[in-house]
Subunit: 270 residues, 2 copies
């Protein structure tokens, strides 16, 4: 049982921001973490990154990230579409099944307009994703980020969008840190059945030390992680579970003991 | 038009935490702010506070706050019920129409259990509110507070609770800072028709300087305040509009110019 769960662990490389991709891959291989989630700004050449990851025997649970569709000018919006097409290509090169989509902020538009822009952008790149066999994983972010990062802030909203897109290449990504507070979260997880493209874990410490860097290691906060994991499984998702922790202390102390610590916390709390 | 709007302005006294009630009342009277929202920890004797406020000719838009039902032990839960009954009495003494209800944190319970505890607590004190002619205004707080303050974090949830209570003494309070991010906010404002017991304004600056003290003066952030105000009016609420700003700089600079500044920002942005 514990072996089964560890076989689903994916190390999201932003959990150790100071590490270059080479070190993240080496650490995963050394500690038998079978999956990694890759960020685009962490590699220059997708083919080389892919070769590195494959040679270590790792799977890529997702590529982070596409989206940010709601740019302030039409020219910038075209550039965002082009960048999302590039991200889909990179995901395919890496052998990732999923491109994580963070919708992007309103950028001076009204929230309604920005939300419409996001759906339009997704519609435009969806055929590319379908051809490449990549799922666009729409990830709602916590509402406290709504002014700066996403206009998609609830799982209901992500489900609405994925439903509207009506394609096997349109899914949702469920990050416990972003959705745990939602009175509807279990109903919306069940509604996401067949469309769940990823599940991310970390924890919400009390008090939260900061808005961007406040996430904690699993077990150091109040999120009902096991209940969420079981709900996601009950809704049919049995793929990789990413550990994604943005936390200055975790980053500062990222050494050879990080992955074993994550594995233990993962077993104890997820 | 502008006179009409200013006639609805209520000064929530936590906007100037350093001021004792006497000074807050004096400033409202001096600047023709017709309403004040009073916090319970700011007075010792409700009768004296009431006399002070009435002699200045002010109305009390709300008393803050009741709630915090989800205490960890049965004895503490009984104490919370008793305290809410006292708050209802105090609201009546002050001539407030509304007691603002902040649900309180999970306190070690599961979120589901805590939410049930809140509804049970409201049910228990509802007859007291009905007898006193006080509306219990269930205020959803921003989801970023869910771990420490409220388990009620969306207007949908507050509406669900008020509907379940099915009494003229059960309403909802809509604070722009807490709900602006919600993709459902306009639908839920319309759904709240007949149950809106208050409307609070401030703003969400970018970046948000802090979780608890991050609110800004109206116009210094991204909230579509006018649109929200019009939606609340379209849903039938034409009562006082409270300005409630928790902000260290506003507190530190609270002087005789604060209320005129608020009035101007209120006219320009709300």
């Amino acid at each position: 049982m514990s072996t089964d769960l560890l076989a689903r662990l994916s190390f999201n490389q932003m959990t150790a921001d100071p590490w270059p991709l080479e070190r993240a891959v080496q650490q995963c291989a050394a500690h038998n973490v079978p999956h990694i989630a890759v960020w685009r700004h962490k590699f220059e050449d997708a083919a080389k990154a892919s070769a590195l990851i494959r040679s270590a025997g790792l799977g890529v649970s997702s590529l982070c990230r596409g989206g940010w569709f709601s740019a302030p000018t039409p020219a910038e919006r075209r550039a965002r579409i082009a960048d999302n097409r590039l991200a889909i290509e990179q995901a395919a090169q890496l052998g990732a099944r999923v491109l994580v989509i963070v919708s992007g902020p309103a950028n001076g538009q009204s929230l309604d307009d920005a939300r419409a822009t996001v759906l339009d952008g997704l519609r435009e790149v969806l055929p590319d994703a379908e051809r490449a066999g990549i799922t666009l994983g729409i990830e709602p972010l916590h509402p406290m980020y709504a002014a700066e990062r996403p206009v998609v802030v609830t799982l209901r909203q992500a489900n609405d969008m994925a439903e509207a897109l009506a394609s096997p290449a349109a899914g949702v990504v469920i990050d416990a840190f972003h959705v745990w507070w939602d009175p509807e979260v279990y109903a919306q997880i069940e509604r996401a059945r067949g469309r769940i493209a990823g599940f991310h874990v970390s924890d919400w410490p009390v008090p939260l030390p900061g808005i961007l860097m406040g996430r904690a290691m699993m077990g150091d906060g109040v999120i009902e992680l096991r209940r969420l994991r079981r709900a996601v499984e009950a809704a049919g998702y049995t793929g990789p579970i990413e550990v994604e922790i943005f936390n200055d202390a975790v980053w500062a102390n990222a050494d050879d003991s990080l992955l074993p610590r994550i594995q233990q916390r993962f077993l104890d709390h997820v």
